[in-house]
Symmetry: none
Subunit: 193 residues, 4 copies
């Protein structure tokens, strides 16, 4: 399996650094290769194209969000508590890896429509897990029974996303983690019965 080989990881990690430091359009394959310590051509032994690096990088990194969220879902907590942990986790992953935050919130979005559609595919699993929380909360009366799950999910994700993007655009100069409880409270109110 290619993904387990050390060069595969080297390249993915190099891509995060190069995208964060140079922006999407200045992230040439040769820069990524240099950062990874391999030859340009070697990239193509592991990835079909430059776009593929981007997508696989996103998949790799998203898997952390998904893995963590699955753990959160397994715990014996209320839907509200799960929601809180989900928000906190989302903030925490990007707060802990500021390069990654820059890449996901800014640079990645400069890719073309087709890539972003594929990125959205990757996001879907994460959003489904979020839906599970929302459905559970609606069923057990924590959230409003008339709540539209799809819209609620868009509110949760849209709010989180906007909050983090603003933080990144402001050069990450305030403490993102301080916002987690406040964002949670706002969102919870929105959905409460």
């Amino acid at each position: 399996m290619k993904r387990d080989k050390p060069k595969y990881r080297q390249i993915i990690d190099a891509a995060v650094v190069v995208f964060a430091e140079n922006g999407y359009h200045q992230a040439q394959v040769s820069k990524i290769a240099k950062q990874a310590g391999v030859a340009d051509g070697t990239i193509y032994l592991y990835f079909k194209s430059k776009e593929e690096i981007l997508i696989q990088m996103f998949q790799e990194k998203m898997s952390v969000f998904v893995t963590n969220l699955k753990e959160i879902l397994k715990e014996d907590n209320s839907a509200a508590e799960k929601l809180y942990k989900m928000v906190e986790n989302h903030f925490n992953v990007l707060y802990s890896d500021k390069l990654l935050a820059t890449v996901t919130q800014l640079e990645l979005r400069q890719s073309n429509k087709e890539i972003r559609l594929r990125i959205n595919e990757v996001l879907k699993e994460y959003l489904s897990l979020l839906d599970e929380i929302l459905i559970e909360g609606r069923k057990n009366g924590e959230f409003d029974e008339g709540m539209d799950v799809r819209l609620a999910r868009q509110m949760v994700f849209g709010t989180i996303d906007e909050t983090i993007t603003t933080w990144v655009m402001n050069d990450q100069k305030y403490n993102l983690m301080d916002l987690a409880p406040k964002v949670y409270k706002l969102l919870l109110n929105g959905m409460r019965a």
Copy 2:
């Protein structure tokens, strides 16, 4: 004044079409010129660069949002009602001009960081007006007095933005306007005292 000349408008309108149909990076200046019915060089009599077309187009179109929102603020209504009208207006403007919706939600974001910073400048006026609603509602007790206005604004804008982007990504195949009251209700709950 260049902005009042017919060719200026022709080019702006052509740019919306070409950006929507081809995406930012496939929107060659020659395509825009052809769509506008002018020579390539004519573009540069009205715009300093291709990027400038994008920014000016955004400014022109954003001014509709701002103008409408200013009207809404003048009316003698509760903050909640103003919020409702704001959401409805935002949805309506993009629902009424589906090409524009594609451009603002998808294509515009492919531009580089610098352009997006300038676009954000334009957005600021709109977001300030939104803040006015939120502050008014907080003051008169409609919204929670402990509410963080900046976060609330990010929730409102983030939710609206995510909702519309999802609609565009789904090829605008459902009726966006149906979502306005529901989105409003979710947001209002979030902020209610």
Copy 3:
């Protein structure tokens, strides 16, 4: 006659300024028009093309050299004295009009081969007058009777030209006129019997 109309002169004078200040390749027709205080299109009522401005400008300015040199030839002096006055005049004209010096020594030479051939045509009259001095001097024994007039002319003109070009390239920071007697002496020696 077009040459007598005021706009013709305005444009020629503007061209000297614009060529000197911006260099040949940055001397756009629109800049010349602006400097001359006329519309772009007006240029083409007086000149067939941009190249034509250059050539006519050179002709106009060269005529000063020629007129002065004709006066010098008429005077009742030895060939050596005429040569001295010729050198002095050449230096003086360009020393007195530093913009013109920049144009003739640097900017004009950036034009293409065809233009420079036409400029050389204009130079020919001047060089023929120089030949007259050389032939006279050779005939009356002032200069070496075995002297090749064409080569001697190339020495005289080449030396003058190189001297002035060096002065211009050094930002005209020393006094060109001080060099006239020394250059004359060098050249005279070269040709003396």
Copy 4:
């Protein structure tokens, strides 16, 4: 070292041909690439820009003049003999490579001021060696002790340059080498004590 690779030389040689045949402004990079038998992009693996080709080409070719002149200076000859050999060498190098003569005397000068300043830098070494001859001759009494070396150098170089340029402009239709002794004699007279 890039300069030792065969493609580097191929491109330099192709550039001489293309510049000579088409002139500076009609010497498109794609023409040079075609003439060199490489892809357009390959040019940029060896040269930073089109201008850089010009400058490096000039440096490569000028080095022949300088190398030869250094040899001449080493020989145990009078300053006058060295001057003669210098003139002869200068004529001979360009007489032997008529394409190069066209490029140095005509096409190179069409480049902009900045490039010509860099070209002048390259010339300086050559002119310093010429100065050595002149100073030596002045010291040992061969040349006039009151001679201004800078002016004498400008006479020597200006005369040579003008002679060769005239020869090139006349389509190199007479034998340049025949002029060497005559030019030498003229110059020597100019400087003789």
